[in-house]
């Protein structure tokens, strides 16, 4: 908007701008065609036998020969020989599982907030055979193996390919699935094969996956790394990437017919099978899971789940479980595919970029689906995390402020060091250090529940900032105030408590509210620690729904919730700031206070 408005008309101009923005947004939303039914959008529902596929031709014809399968065990011990007391579980009788929420059909969260997908459903069946309970936690793939190795999780379930480099970190069960890479490119790209990839192209991979090592070690190229599949694919569709080296099953699931992206080539991974990861020194659990896997293969559960979630032909010469496991009874996928007469997947009618963006950001049905979950799960958790952290931050911050002003260096220095460290480190690093570093030490207290650790990390971080804010406020109080209180006969602590600190806090209220806003937004980072479904805060809920549907609308909806929380706070800051200024004008001996409040006030907008 290039409206030339005078100062007097400024408010009117603002209003006009706001109205225009709202109208534009509404127009975009109303112009959208009726969105497809919700069931179609849930990528975390089992696709069923109807979606069966045969492996791409290039896989069987130009097969890359991996290393010999010498990791699969010849046989397994019988189920009755498994002693579940000897499995080294963090909580006896409960299998703590680290998984992802965003990689359907293997691993995902369904609209009910349940961790499911082929890998997790199979693990449920195996656990049932073993008589174990299951607890799922979502985490990032990049941190999953480290968390399994440190026994934060008993098992990692995330379509993990059992490669040799990974075997140095964790142990693997026998294979339950196989994997290959698909090369995904934007529609109309000149890239048609892996050999077309070259330096200078933006090749997307998910960090820490075999796709990353494939691009680096086999193709000798530098990929662009993403934390999750959902954002990666969104980037490709928005043509921010030249190519995506994707897990084959995932690619065929998430790419919809009208998406401006297409699979142009496939390749077998050098790592030969997909398995569950277990801590390296926990052989009893590996053995138990191998027994359970063979058992669910023998009773047909594996084949049932495979046909439900990931129906496709098995590569020649591969079968799940130990070498002694019976070959699963599979339907003739080629015949099913032939009967379906499905049109080949391809860019039927690529949507315009604008339509693409509108579908991504303003999908009304997704808002309708997201808002109740955001309201019942995300909002309470965000508020609990933020408020607890603020309380810890205020209490500890006051201690730090007092220590920082002390005459004793034994108080001053530790406060200084603490503040420097916790203010100087990125928030993510602090959360990971507290969650993964301190977590195992206090697991007896927290029962491996990362929620209190997240609160602690946020609170400790907030304390460093709040301590400095309080200190600056207290030190800005005229020294005459302390002198006058002492002259009346108050002790130093009483003078601080009754006279100096209350004035100091008043002056930095705007800065404190700003800190609360920062903390509110920072609470989203707790998802790094792996939260169970009912612990997810606003951002994680939005992120999971985004992963389920591929639509960015749930994230926008989560953003709206943040705005609903932060905008009143921002205005509260402005109100306090104005009131402080007006109050100052009448009170002569406190000119410096004005400076403090306005300095902090500037950071608001």
């Amino acid at each position: 908007m290039s409206l030339c408005v005078g100062r007097r008309a400024k408010r009117g101009g603002k209003l006009l701008g706001l109205t225009a923005t709202i109208l534009m947004v509404c127009g975009l939303v109303l112009a959208a065609p009726v969105a497809p039914a919700l069931a179609d959008r849930n990528q975390c529902a089992p696709p069923g036998l109807d979606s069966a596929s045969v492996l791409p031709k290039d896989l069987t014809e130009n097969r890359v020969v991996g290393r010999d399968d010498d990791a699969t065990t010849a046989t397994v011990e019988s189920l009755s020989a498994v002693d579940i007391g000897e499995l080294g579980l963090a909580t006896p009788g409960v299998l703590t599982v680290g998984t992802l929420s965003d990689a359907p059909p293997n691993i995902c969260v369904n609209p009910e907030g349940e961790f499911t997908g082929f890998d997790n459903q199979l693990l449920r069946a195996i656990a049932k055979k073993l008589g174990l309970q299951l607890r799922f936690f979502a985490t990032d793939f990049s941190g999953l193996l480290a968390q399994v190795a440190s026994r934060r999780f008993d098992v990692g379930s995330a379509a993990i390919k059992a490669t040799d480099p990974r075997r140095r970190t964790v142990a693997f069960t026998n294979g339950y699935d196989f994997g290959y890479y698909s090369l995904v490119v934007p529609a109309g790209s000149a890239i048609t094969n892996f050999s077309d990839l070259a330096a200078g192209q933006r090749i997307g991979v998910v960090q820490g996956t075999v796709a990353e090592s494939y691009v680096v070690d086999t193709l000798h190229l530098q990929p662009v790394k993403y934390p999750g599949y959902a954002t990666l694919y969104a980037s490709l569709k928005a043509r921010q990437l030249d190519a995506w080296v994707a897990p084959g099953t995932l690619a065929s699931t998430v790419i919809r017919r009208d998406d401006p992206a297409v699979v142009v080539a496939n390749a077998f991974s050098p790592g030969n099978f997909v398995a569950y990861a277990v801590a390296k020194d926990n052989q009893p659990l590996v053995n138990a899971l191998n027994s359970g896997l063979d058992a669910v293969i023998a009773d047909g559960t594996w084949a049932k789940l495979y046909c439900l979630w990931v129906p496709r032909t098995l590569p020649p010469g591969w079968k799940p479980g130990s070498k002694a496991a019976p070959a699963p009874d599979m339907p003739d996928f080629a015949a099913i595919v032939a009967n379906q007469h499905r049109e080949p997947v391809g860019p039927a009618t690529p949507k315009s970029t604008l339509a693409q963006l509108r579908d991504s950001f303003f999908d009304w049905d997704m808002y309708r689906e997201a808002i109740p979950i955001l309201l019942t799960t995300g909002l309470p958790n965000t508020l609990i995390l933020t408020n607890s952290a603020i309380i810890i931050g205020l209490a500890l911050g006051m201690v730090l402020a007092m220590a920082g002003m002390s005459h004793s260096r034994w108080l001053r220095w530790p406060a200084r060091v603490y503040t420097d460290i916790f203010r100087g480190l990125p928030e993510v690093v602090i959360i990971l250090i507290i969650g993964l570093g301190i977590g195992p030490l206090v697991s007896g207290l927290t029962h491996n529940n990362p929620y209190p650790l997240g609160i602690a990390a946020l609170g400790l971080m907030a304390a460093a900032y709040i301590g400095e804010i309080l200190r600056s406020g207290i030190q800005s109080v005229d020294p005459g105030q302390l002198e006058a209180s002492r002259a009346l006969g108050f002790s130093y602590p009483a003078a601080m408590r009754l006279v100096v600190v209350p004035q100091g806090i008043r002056r930095v209220l705007p800065a404190l509210v700003n800190q609360a806003i920062a903390l509110l937004k920072g609470s989203a980072l707790v998802y790094f620690l792996g939260l169970v479904a009912h612990q997810r805060e606003l951002f994680q809920v939005g992120r999971d729904l985004n992963a389920q549907s591929g639509s960015l609308s749930p994230l926008v909806a989560a953003g709206l919730f943040y705005l609903i929380l932060t905008i009143p706070l921002t205005h509260l800051v402005n109100y306090i700031d104005t009131r402080l200024r007006r109050g100052r004008a009448a009170t002569e001996p406190e000119k410096d206070a004005d400076m403090v409040s306005s300095t902090f006030g500037q950071g608001i907008t």
């Binding site: 002198e483 002492r486 002259a487 006969g489 006279v499 406190e590």
Partner: protein, 249 residues
């Protein structure tokens, strides 16, 4: 009007050979002061002569290097300094009222917290003291809404509410507008006439001459000359005092 409305009688104050170093700089070099009970001692002298430091040393806001302070003939150096300061009221040049509290709370805070009066009793006491300085009607206001002269009267009421045995005034009228000075000085003079022992650091020579029993002239951390006001102003002995008086009168 008597000084001991709140129950404590005025006492004598004596300072003996006070030495004080602040931040490595020698500020007081052997100061002696004698204020018999009920007397008003005016302390005059050029800026930087150590007058304000003397007051803060005598109520132990700054601890002494050496010397002794006698209150009612007894040394107070071993007393709890917080307890000592409850017995010595102090009024500052910049008033130093608590801007976050109402006028009433400013006066009632110390009696309630330190003399352990009930909130009601502290409130009644505060209203009495405010009435005494003519500001009862401002009890609900904030310090920022009062003029400088009014603020200074509140500061005096705040000090009196602790029923001090001695009062210190540290250039209490220096920050006031000229038309406010007279009223404030009259209030201080009334207080002295009512029998309060007072140490008044002032630049108002008229006040020192008419309202004090003894005038002490300080320069460079020492008492140069002291005596009754007639002697100091009519018959200064030392050359330094003569020069000072010729500059300020």
């Amino acid at each position: 009007m008597t000084a001991d409305t709140a129950g404590r009688a005025s006492v004598s104050l004596e300072a003996k050979d006070i030495h004080q170093t602040l931040g490595g700089c020698k500020v007081l070099c052997g100061v002696d002061i004698q204020a018999p009970a009920g007397n008003t001692v005016a302390v005059i002298g050029p800026s930087g002569s150590g007058k304000s430091t003397l007051l803060r040393s005598l109520n132990r806001l700054y601890e002494l290097d050496s010397g002794d302070i006698l209150l009612d003939g007894r040394s107070v150096l071993r007393d709890d300094p917080d307890e000592l300061r409850q017995r010595i009221g102090m009024v500052f040049q910049q008033y130093n009222l608590f801007p976050h509290l109402s006028i009433l709370k400013n006066v009632a805070l110390a009696p309630q917290k330190l003399r352990r009066l009930s909130p009601d009793a502290a409130r009644d006491l505060a209203l009495t003291q405010l009435d005494r300085v003519g500001l009862k009607h401002k009890a609900g206001a904030r310090p920022g809404m009062l003029s400088g002269g009014q603020q200074q009267r509140v500061a005096i009421a705040r000090a009196l509410a602790m029923a001090p045995q001695v009062m210190f005034f540290d250039e209490a009228t220096s920050a006031l507008d000229p038309e406010m000075v007279k009223g404030a000085l009259e209030l201080i003079a009334d207080l002295g006439a009512g029998g309060m022992t007072m140490l008044v650091v002032t630049h108002e020579m008229g006040f020192a001459r008419s309202a004090s029993d003894t005038v002490v002239f300080m320069d460079q951390g020492k008492v140069v000359e002291s005596g009754p006001p007639e002697q100091i102003f009519e018959d200064p002995h030392t050359e330094r005092l003569q020069r000072f008086l010729s500059q300020v009168l």
